[in-house]
């Protein structure tokens, strides 16, 4: 190759290198909880944080306003009423009690009250106090914090898909 061609190529290569060198920017540490609208510390293990989406966060808000007094032990919201009640109401994160119950059953218990579903009359009916999506939000929140964790029932299998 002629010398001038060679020198031209070298010059081109150097400029290419120079333009591609960029200042290394500090990457943001990916925060696993940054995609969560809100978090709730696990009631059994305060170090663990459970991420909540918008609906679950609204459920958390409704829970801590209306339900926490009886369905939780003492919390920053205030001392608990739970020990005053017989039968003792289940804790909201009690997976053993709530996981086997369908969403429908829980929704009816909340909306119509305990005595309507054969449970204690101490559970008031909230259907006229809470809106339907607030009730749904509370249910979704309870499912999120359940220990042992809640598995939604299986979807209908492929034999039901319409093709």
């Amino acid at each position: 190759m002629k010398r001038r061609h060679l020198s031209l190529l070298v010059a081109l290569a150097l400029t290419a290198l120079a333009t591609s060198c960029q200042q290394k920017t500090i990457a943001a540490k990916p925060d696993p909880l940054s995609r969560a609208y809100d978090v709730e510390s696990d009631w059994n293990d305060p170090q663990k944080q459970i991420p909540l989406n918008y609906q679950q966060a609204q459920g958390k808000r409704v829970f801590y306003t209306y339900c926490v007094w009886c369905h939780a032990d003492s919390s920053p919201a205030g001392p608990s009423n739970r020990s005053n009640l017989t039968p003792t109401p289940p804790l909201a994160n009690d997976g053993a009690t709530f996981n086997p119950l369908s969403d429908e059953f829980v929704r009816n218990t909340i909306t119509l009250g305990g005595s309507a579903m054969g449970k204690s009359a101490m559970m008031p009916p909230w259907g006229r106090t809470l809106k339907p999506d607030e009730v749904q939000a509370v249910i979704v929140f309870m499912r999120a914090i359940a220990q042992p964790s809640y598995q939604p029932p299986a979807r209908p299998g492929p034999q039901y898909s319409v093709k």
């Binding site: 995609r35 609906q55 009359a121 008031p124 106090t129 939604p152």
Partner: protein, 700 residues
């Protein structure tokens, strides 16, 4: 043909083929575009679902966009996020980007995506849409700060955005509004306390210590424990990074501010003589301190079982070591009339007898002390004139004047930059200098708040200590300040903050102002939320009960730790308040004359008792006597407390009388309502059930 040389022909052929090859690259790349891949994936995904037909019916190939020109919305996000509207795709197991949007108050088709999530709506490539790139500097807002977008239009408080509300409160509470202009945040009348006569309040040594380290709680190891304390209280005054010379100068200046009130507060010498020698004066002072519930507004550190906790309210400053701070004369004058030295103070003017005053001040000055409080302060002689002048200059330069009012000193306007547009700033508008943080707006805001010097070594902004959730809340509130919505269509939809006002005049107004009822109670939307809303108190409570309560507040709700203080008000003052409440603060839903003794019969009461105990189990939340629940108020004396008509209306629709109350609204037939009211009206403490018609009695 002519003699075109073969080489030339060949060269022409090759270059034409190459050129066509270059042209062909584009259609191939077009086919492999990201969004086209995504849509093919979606079709494949839809075929695995049970409702394939429905999903594919709503699908069409090509770019999907939400276009609302009046709101400047051109969002192509739904090209990849195809399942946004499909209710069957809500489940967490559905992979992104096909998952439906979680149910929320605003419809995606009517608002687009960028309005809340920011990012580049015009893009159909993942990186361009989500991240900061060369040509677009507004990345997606992380979901944990998404309430900031709610705040762009909703200027008032919303129950659905607690983090934003806390952030906005903190912007006032931590005095950000003192130095910075903030969109939608009104600067309250008093940020830091007025310092016009602070020289007569505390010593120069105390000022030195305070300016060096504005906290007074240290545990036995000398560690400041505010952050470890249950309330996670941040000190409202930040730390100003002052050096020795500056500390001396400022403390000298402050101790020179002695334009005190002319009123000298001297106690009756006979009272002093009588109590001086008594051994239990201090203990009695503590009893009075407790009875008057000073801790409702002021917190005091209490050590129990080796653990130090701040017990009390946040309205006034924390008082653990105040006895070592204040000048005894100042304390007397202050308790007698707070507004004399601090006109905007929220402290009520209690009715003090000289005896009470002596006892309580003795208690404060001997027990709420720390003899070692200023042991680490170097010797400070009488201040020199140069020191005072330097202090006066520093008072302005360091920004003290922006939060603390001193008569005759006008603060620098706009001491800190205007933050009303902070949320909409692009990367190129932010000065990172040498800060070792990621180059994002959120990292910038958080670095600036937690460590201003790291971003700008010459920063005048002081050093704050913040709990992590408060930092998040502040970030959210600041991100919501985008200088208003970006288009005229959106500007029409802004929900302004309600600006209630309730400033009564006359005799009631004087008492109301003297005891600062509005700091804790709300009247027609104006006031604090610490105590019950009194907008309808006249319909609720009987006048005689009101008078008794105002003179001697009792426990109504067992679980609350903050109680109404005992103001030692005179009978006339109590009567004025009770008369006003009984006559004016009435609810239109309650007709006090509608319930008479004809309705409240003993048979009805018996039925009511049964309903209370068996059918509705009201005792799960309410206490009568010694048994019951802690959630609602104690009903032991409700017959003397409430009006029957109120009770009936409450049972019919509690949320209609007090919106947001947690009493459940049941479906009670009228007979049961009357029965329950009859039963409750028989519950009276200290005296047999009055046979007189309660309705007529309380309509006075």
């Amino acid at each position: 043909m002519g003699k075109i040389p073969k080489r030339l022909r060949r060269a022409f052929a090759i270059s034409s083929v190459l050129f066509l090859g270059v042209l062909a690259v584009s259609p191939v790349k077009d086919l492999l575009q990201e969004w086209k891949q995504s849509r093919r994936d979606y079709v494949r995904f839809a075929e695995t679902r049970p409702d394939t037909k429905q999903l594919l019916a709503d699908f069409h190939p090509g770019i999907d966009q939400i276009w609302i020109p009046e709101m400047n919305v051109t969002d192509r996000c739904t090209t990849c996020h195809q399942g946004i509207h499909q209710a069957s795709l809500l489940d967490v197991s559905v992979p992104q980007p096909f998952r439906a949007h979680t149910p929320m108050p605003h419809q995606v088709e009517k608002w687009g995506c960028v309005v809340c999530h920011r990012g580049q709506g015009l893009a159909t490539e993942v990186r361009e849409a989500h991240e900061t790139t060369l040509a677009w500097e507004q990345p997606l807002l992380p979901v944990r700060y998404i309430q900031a977008s709610c705040g762009v239009c909703h200027r008032g408080t919303l129950p659905e955005t607690p983090q934003l509300d806390v952030g906005r409160e903190l912007l006032v509470k931590l005095n950000c509004a003192g130095c910075h202009r903030l969109e939608g945040i009104t600067r309250p009348a008093m940020l830091g306390p007025d310092l016009t006569s602070v020289g007569s309040k505390a010593s120069r040594a105390w000022f030195y210590k305070w300016l060096k380290e504005p906290r007074t709680i240290t545990d036995s190891n000398g560690n400041t424990t505010v952050d470890g304390v249950e309330n996670e209280e941040e000190p409202r005054m930040p730390q100003f990074r002052l050096n020795e010379k500056e500390l001396r100068a400022l403390s000298a200046y402050l101790s020179s501010l002695r334009t005190g009130p002319a009123e000298t507060a001297k106690l009756d010498p006979r009272v002093v003589a009588a109590l001086e020698r008594k051994p239990d004066t201090v203990d009695q002072g503590e009893v009075r301190f407790r009875q008057m519930f000073c801790t409702t507004c002021h917190s005091v550190a209490v050590t129990r079982a080796g653990e130090t906790k701040l017990i009390g309210g946040e309205i006034g400053p924390e008082l653990t070591k105040v006895g070592s701070k204040v000048n005894p004369d100042w304390l007397l004058a202050w308790l007698r009339n707070p507004q004399a030295s601090m006109p905007h103070s929220q402290m009520p003017r209690y009715g003090w007898s000289d005896e009470d005053l002596y006892k309580v001040t003795r208690y404060i000055l001997s027990k709420l002390t720390d003899p070692d409080l200023m042991s680490d302060v170097p010797r400070l002689e009488g201040p020199a004139q140069e020191e005072i002048q330097l202090g006066q200059r520093l008072f302005l330069e360091k920004g003290c004047a922006s939060c603390h009012f001193v008569k005759g000193v006008s603060p620098q306007a706009d001491f800190g930059p205007n933050l009303s547009n902070l949320g909409s700033k692009t990367l190129s508008q932010l000065e990172f200098s040498k800060a070792k943080i990621p180059r994002t707006l959120i990292a910038y805001i958080q670095a600036k708040i937690t460590d201003p010097v790291s971003v700008n070594p010459a920063a005048r902004m002081p050093q704050y200590q913040l709990a992590p959730r408060h930092l998040e809340a502040l970030t959210t509130a600041l991100l919501s300040m985008t200088g208003g919505p970006s288009s005229s269509g959106l500007a029409k939809l802004v929900v302004p903050a309600p600006k209630p006002g309730f400033h009564p005049a006359g005799a009631f107004g004087e008492v109301y102002e003297r005891y600062k009822c509005y700091v804790c109670h709300r009247f027609n939307g104006y006031g604090g939320t610490l105590a019950p809303d009194l907008s309808y108190e006249g319909s609720r409570a009987q006048r005689s009960w009101l008078v008794a309560f105002l003179k001697n507040p009792q426990t109504l709700r067992p679980t609350l730790t903050l109680r109404m203080p005992q103001f030692n008000m005179t009978d006339a003052e109590a009567a004025t308040l009770a008369d006003y409440l009984a006559m004016v603060t009435q609810s239109p839903a309650v007709n006090l004359g509608s319930v008479t003794s004809k309705d409240l019969t003993p048979e009805a009461a018996r039925l009511g008792k049964q309903l209370y105990e068996v059918k509705y189990q009201c005792r799960s939340c309410h206490t009568i006597g010694s048994s019951g629940g802690y959630v609602g108020p104690n009903l032991t004396n409700v017959g003397n407390w409430m009006n029957a008509a109120w009770i009936e209306e409450w049972l019919r629709d509690p949320q209609g009388l007090v919106p947001g109350t947690i009493e459940p609204r049941r479906t009670l037939p009228e007979q049961e309502v009357t029965a329950l009211a009859a039963y409750l009206m028989t519950l009276r403490q200290g005296g047999a059930a009055k046979p007189a018609a309660p309705g007529a009695g309380s309509a006075r």
